[in-house]
């Protein structure tokens, strides 16, 4: 395929993916908006004032970046895992397999779809948060780059999960038993400086902690970790996950007999 043909193919996949999650907006865009609004009301407005300051900010201000990042992580992952597995389940993946689209374009297309949903939900949650607090962005470049890179990491994760999944149960195991605990323990609701030293060390094994804190640094200017370590970590994750996902596609794992 020529470069222009590959560009058309990539745009086709991305448009298809965006059309999918906007068509079913009541399942994809609305639920995280409602969930996060409840977090803002319950944790920020009702419980937050009793907690007081955290890292020099009131509790609502402190949790907003974490909640935005949490919605980006879960939605970028969920979009790719459900869309790609859905294609496998309906066998419409064969439309792509018989076509000349290179596997790396397929992968980028699906990841872009996941990033689009992650960012769309992140944007909605950000708008909602403005109803509860004044959001001042400390560093727009760090904020934007970290949310984008994180969405890419979890879109790739969702893709790999979908490749291995053979039934619908398989696409909910990782989000339920891995992503949710890691996100809740990843500094969304608290600063790890509140923890005993041992649990601080344990928390630092959690990669989501680095992403949430780098994003919080972009908005508030405070972080529990060195944000350069966060950038290095997400870039390494992207390279490793992209290579692995592409290898699976080239092998036809889970999609070719």
């Amino acid at each position: 395929m020529s470069m222009s043909q590959m560009w058309v193919a990539l745009c086709t996949i991305v448009v298809k993916e965006v059309r999918r999650f906007t068509r079913i907006w009541a399942q994809t865009l609305l639920p995280p908006a409602i969930t996060m609004a409840l977090y803002f009301v319950v944790f920020g407005n009702l419980i937050g004032p009793r907690i007081g300051q955290m890292e020099g900010y009131n509790y609502m201000e402190f949790i907003v970046p974490g909640l935005i990042m949490m919605s980006v992580i879960t939605n970028s992952y969920a979009n790719v895992v459900s869309s790609f597995f859905g294609m496998k389940f309906q066998r419409s993946i064969e439309e792509l397999l018989v076509s000349p689209v290179p596997n790396w374009i397929v992968l980028i297309g699906y990841v872009a779809g996941g990033v689009a949903r992650g960012l769309a939900v992140g944007f909605i949650v950000t708008l909602l948060s403005l109803g509860f607090t004044d959001l001042q962005v400390h560093n727009i470049a760090i904020t934007a780059s970290m949310v984008l890179l994180t969405a890419i990491v979890f879109s790739l994760g969702g893709f790999i999960n979908a490749v291995y999944a053979t039934k619908f149960d398989d696409i909910s195991i990782v989000p339920t038993f891995v992503l949710t605990p890691l996100t809740y323990l990843g500094g969304v609701f608290y600063s790890i400086s509140l923890l005993p030293e041992f649990w601080q060390l344990v928390s630092k094994v959690n990669p989501i902690l680095y992403m949430v804190n780098a994003f919080r640094y972009g908005i508030l200017g405070v972080s529990d970790v060195n944000i350069m370590v966060s950038y290095a970590m997400v870039v390494v994750f992207i390279v490793l996950l992209f290579s692995f996902a592409l290898r699976l596609l080239n092998q036809g794992k889970g999609i070719r007999a």
């Binding site: 058309v8 068509r23 066998r91 076509s99 000349p100 070719r256």
Partner: protein
Amino acid sequence: MTYALKINNLSKVYANGFEALKGIDLTVEQGDFYALLGPNGAGKSTTLGIVSSLVNKTSGDISVFGFDLDSDLEQAKMCLGVVPQEINFNQFEKVKDILVTQGGYYGIPASEAEVTADLYLKKLGLWDKRDQPSRELSGGMKRRLMIARALIHHPKLLILDEPTAGVDIELRRSMWQFLREINEQGTTIILTTHYLEEAEALCRNIGIIDKGKILTDTTMNALLGQLHVETFILALDRDLAKAPLLDGFECIVNEQGELEVDVEQVQNINELFKAVDKAGLLVKTVRAKSNRLEELFLSLVETHDTESGAKGVEA
């Protein structure tokens, strides 16, 4: 000569150890309308699946219009349109979106793909359904949608894996007409079907595969020429208890009391009627016992089963 499809020594062993293809060779000429027939599990869909990149081969070489599937995969795929056996489009997408999206996978911009999509939606009687979700289509419409989708990038080789399965006879005939038209316009077509009448009506060349081996690869006329005997069923004005003597013909009485007569290629129906008349019998209706190709097909497959020592025939 560049073939539309050339397969050399193609083998496939599935992960469970089942040997679906045992080193088959096959060539399909450009512009041909080729039938690949075989019983269930013979290896037809595996062969076409490998050609379509839906199944990984174990060994062997395949080229499509001279493009090797190992070294020139993208160019080979550009030449191919595939209509699979099972419905495999997104049931939630709108009919026209499915076609335009498929065009996009081949690098065709949406504005251009829409023109081709409109053309085939009209030709295949789907125009009124273009904005409906595909799940709302009838079975026959879904099959036509898959044909339109396979043609969206104007492929030089169209692979049809049982395209008329479960389609009523009227619709089947209209699909035959459509396929004839695109073949006449230069598209090479490879067809698998369980309707042998369909293969006989449409195809010029034929391959018969069984248990992963090609039993015959020849022209339809040459294959039908191998048919030495055809059986006709004669319904008489009365039921017969035992077979009468007919000069020059072997016959039996079937369970319905009708007469089944074998007519050899060197004989003719006039001679049969003379013999029947001479025996004092009155014929009310006459029909062929089975489709000519069906008889040959069964004969070839059964012979192969006997030779390979198979116990049962899955037909």
